[in-house]
């Protein structure tokens, strides 16, 4: 009986996480936008504006370019679905969501890559120059970001002897000193750079621009409209939300529920929201101060992140 209950509880946590990411992602984007505006001396839209935009877009008819195939309509679905799966398997609120044992950090990375690939194919399917341009640039950055991402995961996995997310987080809860080691800090730095690149934030990509010379993500999704565009905007903000939340639990795990029970979950939810909000404000404040990098300077940034990640692994071994 208890096992049935715990399975149901774990499944409930997964569903809660998915719902939280669907709502929290757009709110995080709204929060970052508001912070940015305030720092620049503007009033800015309310924090819930992205959710209002989504509601508006979802009610509009969607269009499809005449030469596009079924890929065009599938890409937004895959983008949101892969992020939903990540939100379901990642231990964001509790160390044991229902399917947490079945996937690890590597699977999470490849799932997100599947979403990016689907979106790039959708961009190329339109047959316009913008779609191809965005897809080419997005995947070039994705390809050079991949080594830094996987090696920083390796640095996180070495002390835990596993790349399984619950195992890593339980490990660092049990040994709080892991968090202050040089390898953690180096991996943290590499991870931040990669998150910025994966989510298309400044200084890698400017989500606010529609200037053809500098667009990356926006060029890819130029042909989408109505509910498809709503899905893409939702998917992108969910991606940012889930990666920032993952970052929060990986590097500052305290507060996460290690045992079932509504009171633990409530504490966990509050602490996660606080951590994500703090990170979001920090990221937004950082974005105010930087300009977008030239496209061909981005690989240098990624190479720097890769070096940081390799140093993280090596220091994990030397200091172990």
């Amino acid at each position: 009986m208890t096992s049935t209950w715990s399975v149901a509880a774990d499944a409930a946590i997964s569903v809660l996480q998915m719902a939280g990411v669907v709502l929290g992602g757009p709110l995080l984007v709204g929060l970052m936008r508001t912070v940015r505006c305030r720092l620049e001396g503007r009033v800015g839209p309310p924090v819930r504006q992205p959710l209002l935009d989504l509601r508006k877009l979802a009610r509009r008819q969607r269009t499809r370019p005449e030469h596009a195939s079924w890929i065009f309509g599938l890409a937004p679905l895959l983008l949101v679905a892969t992020t939903l799966v990540v939100a379901a398997v990642a231990p964001l609120l509790a160390t044991g969501p229902a399917l947490g044992w079945s996937a690890d950090l590597f699977a999470v990375v490849y799932l997100l890559l599947l979403g990016s690939v689907a979106l790039a194919l959708g961009g190329l399917d339109t047959g316009t120059a913008f779609g191809g341009m965005g897809a080419s640039r997005a995947l070039t950055i994705g390809a050079v970001a991949e080594p830094a991402l996987l090696v920083s995961i390796l640095a996180l996995s070495v002390p835990a002897h596993s790349s399984n997310l619950p195992a890593i987080i339980s490990g660092s809860l049990a040994h709080p000193l892991w968090l202050a080691t040089p390898e953690r800090l180096l991996a943290l730095a590499a991870f931040v750079i990669v998150i910025v690149a994966e989510c298309g934030r400044l200084p890698v990509d400017n989500p606010g621009t529609h200037l053809e010379l500098t667009m990356i993500h926006e060029a890819m999704v130029l042909e989408y409209s109505g509910s498809d565009l709503a899905l893409i905007k939702l998917g992108e903000s969910m991606r940012l939300g889930v990666l920032v939340a993952l970052f929060a639990v990986l590097f500052v795990p305290w507060g996460i529920a290690t045992s079932p029970g509504p009171e633990h979950l409530a504490v966990s939810l509050v602490s996660l929201v606080a951590k994500v909000a703090v990170l979001g404000v920090g990221l937004a404040a950082f974005e105010v101060g930087v300009a977008k990098l030239r496209l061909f300077r981005v690989p240098e940034l990624m190479a720097g992140a890769f070096v940081l990640a390799v140093l993280a692994v090596l220091s994990a071994l030397v200091l172990a």
Partner: protein
């Protein structure tokens, strides 16, 4: 069972005779049917060996003079036989619908069954002579098949020359390496070499290993001996390119593992670091070139170099773990390598067959002349998409599972006292990650430019779906990509047995033998079936939500063209422009050449009459290694011409000097 093995050989020979002797009307169906029967026999023997775990042998003293004809199919060889037979069945079914490329000629019809048969028998040979007999026959028959279309295209003879030289070079290295081992073992049977190899002197073992790595590495397309591969695999006909890229290259891996682990029982650390370095270099080089290539089949051929590089990386890691005493991890890495061989065969066979369908339907394999094919060839296009997703190692297709397992083996190798291991593992993960990202880039380029958007030429616009034999042959492999990705447990036990067999290992397995993939005793496994189910459910839910909220059906509209009236294919991104950012990022490695030619109007230099831009990224090794070597050889040849001047006295003197030298060396 040994009777079935002989029957397979006889059926293959019968197919060969049928191809050579039967009248033109029934030539193709008859020879293909007999070869299919041979493949069925090989599949039966291979599966039986894998399931029962008992080797099948056949010995005959009269078939080959002096040495005898010795076959022994163990679990490790059986895995490769099953893979070759599976790919061959699909390629042969595909061949029934495929025409052109000179495959219907008498020579080609006779040689194709022979090639398939050698693919089935190389892994069953149990002594040096039998092995080399099949190996050379495989090289010769595949060379003839590459050359089948030599009358119609000028590139074919060039590809054939490169292939002939490289394969003979490789075969010579293998011959010397194996003969060295046989001489010091006092017998040429593999069992005798394996029994006495640990007592051989270190230099003999090392020299033999380096030689076989060179020889087998050239067959597997390892850098820098890969130069023949993009030419031969792209110039040969559809079924042949699939057989070469999905089945023949595997035998290079077979040879390295058989000799390194099976015959020599592992060796010093530097052997395996060398294998890992070759693997890493091949993976990166192949991935970069396949990401920037605009020729569809050349792109796939470079991706073969990339994937075989990853397999070599895993083989090297396995050897390294074994040397440092971590035998369980060595098994995991070798299982990852063999699993990747199996999965690569499935998705690369699928990709080469569907790419050849595209070539047959449009008459070109230049990506910049394709486009819009998914709507015109829905089945072939979808098959290519599935194979490409597997090539990009994306969940939940088969390529993902093997890369995941390789990542796990490297991760668990890590807290290591050995500095070589400690440095090799993070670098290996970095290589794996970069090739993974580049493979995703390559897939999006090939599929997005070739299949999606607007057709770029008239031929692409007129393309029609190919016949049922061709879609069937490639479709089965695409279905396998999905099935094995979701349910890797269908092949995983066989692969674990094969790896245990060649490592000579007994005891509890470090790998979970259930419907998940993972290491036992370690927290965290991969459950691709569950992941696939959850992903499908999520896609379905999101689609339902979208359908529920949207107000009406999708409106088909013109794409935004910055105010232009008409959207044409000239506005589209091409494969060259798609790869341009990456080419610039890796400029130092790829060294692209760039020619701009502007001609002006005669009256004024301010008006341009025509401007042409020519960019190409040719193979750096060809330019920097092979071109100087060829020039040096040619100079040597020209200079040496003055030595034989026609004087008989001089020739007799040469003979005498040579004889004296031999006598001095022997004494």
């Amino acid at each position: 069972m040994s009777g079935l093995l002989v029957a397979t050989l006889v059926l293959g020979l019968a197919g060969c005779v049928a191809g050579a002797a039967s009248p033109i009307g029934i030539r193709t169906p008859l020879s293909v049917a007999l070869t299919l029967a041979a493949c069925a026999g090989a599949l039966a023997v291979g599966v039986a060996v894998l399931v029962r775990g008992r080797a099948v042998s056949f010995h005959d003293q009269h078939l080959l003079p002096l040495s005898g004809f010795n076959l022994r199919l163990d679990r490790f060889g059986a895995l490769f036989v099953v893979v070759s037979a599976g790919v061959a069945v699909c390629a042969l079914v595909y061949r029934l619908g495929y025409d052109g490329h000179g495959l219907s000629s008498r020579t080609a019809s006779a040689v194709l069954p022979a090639f398939v048969t050698t693919l089935l028998f190389v892994p069953s040979a149990s002594d040096v002579t039998t092995f080399l007999f099949f190996w050379e026959l495989m090289a010769l028959t595949s060379l003839l098949l590459v050359l089948a279309d030599h009358r119609h295209r000028a590139e074919v003879p060039v590809a054939g020359q490169w292939y002939a030289v490289m394969t003979q070079f490789g075969a010579a290295a293998i011959l010397v390496g194996l003969v060295l081992l046989a001489t010091h073992a006092g017998s040429q049977s593999f069992a005798a070499i394996a029994a006495s190899s640990l007592h051989m002197r270190p230099w003999v073992r090392s020299a033999a290993f380096v030689l076989v790595v060179i020889g087998f590495g050239s067959k597997a397309g390892a850098v820098p001996l890969h130069v023949w591969l993009p030419r031969a695999h792209s110039e040969s006909s559809g079924p042949v390119s699939a057989l070469m890229s999905a089945a023949m290259v595997n035998l290079g891996i077979y040879g390295i593992v058989r000799v390194g682990d099976g015959l020599l029982h592992g060796g010093p650390v530097w052997w395996w670091l060398m294998v890992m370095a070759i693997g890493a270099l091949s993976a990166l080089f192949g991935a970069l070139h396949s990401a920037t290539s605009r020729d569809l089949k050349r792109l796939l051929a470079y991706s073969t170099t990339d994937n075989m590089g990853l397999v070599l990386l895993a083989v090297g890691a396995s050897g390294l773990f074994a040397v440092t005493g971590r035998h369980a991890l060595a098994l995991v890495a070798l299982v990852a390598a063999l699993l990747h061989v199996v999965f690569h065969a499935v998705f690369k066979g699928c990709l080469f067959l569907s790419a050849s369908s595209i070539q047959q339907a449009t008459g070109t394999r230049d990506l910049d002349s394709l486009g819009g094919l998914l709507r015109r060839m829905p089945v072939t296009g979808s098959v290519f998409l599935v194979g490409g997703l597997a090539m990009a190692a994306l969940p939940v297709l088969c390529g993902f599972v093997s890369e995941w397992l390789l990542l796990q083996s490297m991760l668990h190798g890590l807290p290591s006292k050995d500095p070589a291991v400690a440095v090799a593992m993070p670098v290996g993960v970095g290589v794996l990650a970069l090739t993974g990202g580049l493979a995703a880039f390559t897939f999006v380029k090939a599929a997005g430019i070739g299949l999606l958007g607007l057709p770029r030429t008239e031929a692409a616009a007129r393309a029609r779906e190919v016949g049922p034999a061709m879609t069937g042959g490639s479709g089965v492999l695409a279905a396998l990509c999905v099935l094995l990705g979701v349910a890797p447990f269908l092949v995983l036990p066989a692969v674990i047995d094969a790896a245990n067999g060649v490592l000579g290992r007994r005891g509890p397995d470090p790998l979970v033998r259930g419907w998940q993939v993972g290491l036992s005793g370690v927290h965290g496994v991969l459950a691709p079936g569950i992941l696939a189910a959850v992903l499908c459910a999520a896609v379905g839910t999101v689609a339902l939500v979208r359908a529920a909220v949207e107000p009406g059906p999708v409106r088909v509209a013109e794409a935004w063209g910055c105010g232009r009236e008409l959207q044409t294919a000239r506005m589209e991104y091409t494969a060259t422009s798609f790869g341009e950012p990456l080419t610039r990022v890796f400029e130092d490695v790829l060294a692209p050449s760039h020619d701009v030619d502007i001609s002006h109007v005669a009256e004024s230099r301010y008006y341009v009459e025509a401007a042409t831009v020519h960019t190409s990224t040719d193979d750096g090794f060809e330019r920097r290694l092979y071109a100087p070597a060829q020039r040096a050889l040619r100079r040597f040849g020209t200079a040496a011409r003055s030595v034989p001047n026609g004087s008989v006295h001089r020739y007799l003197a040469f003979g005498l000097v040579a004889l004296v030298l031999v006598l001095v060396l022997v004494a």
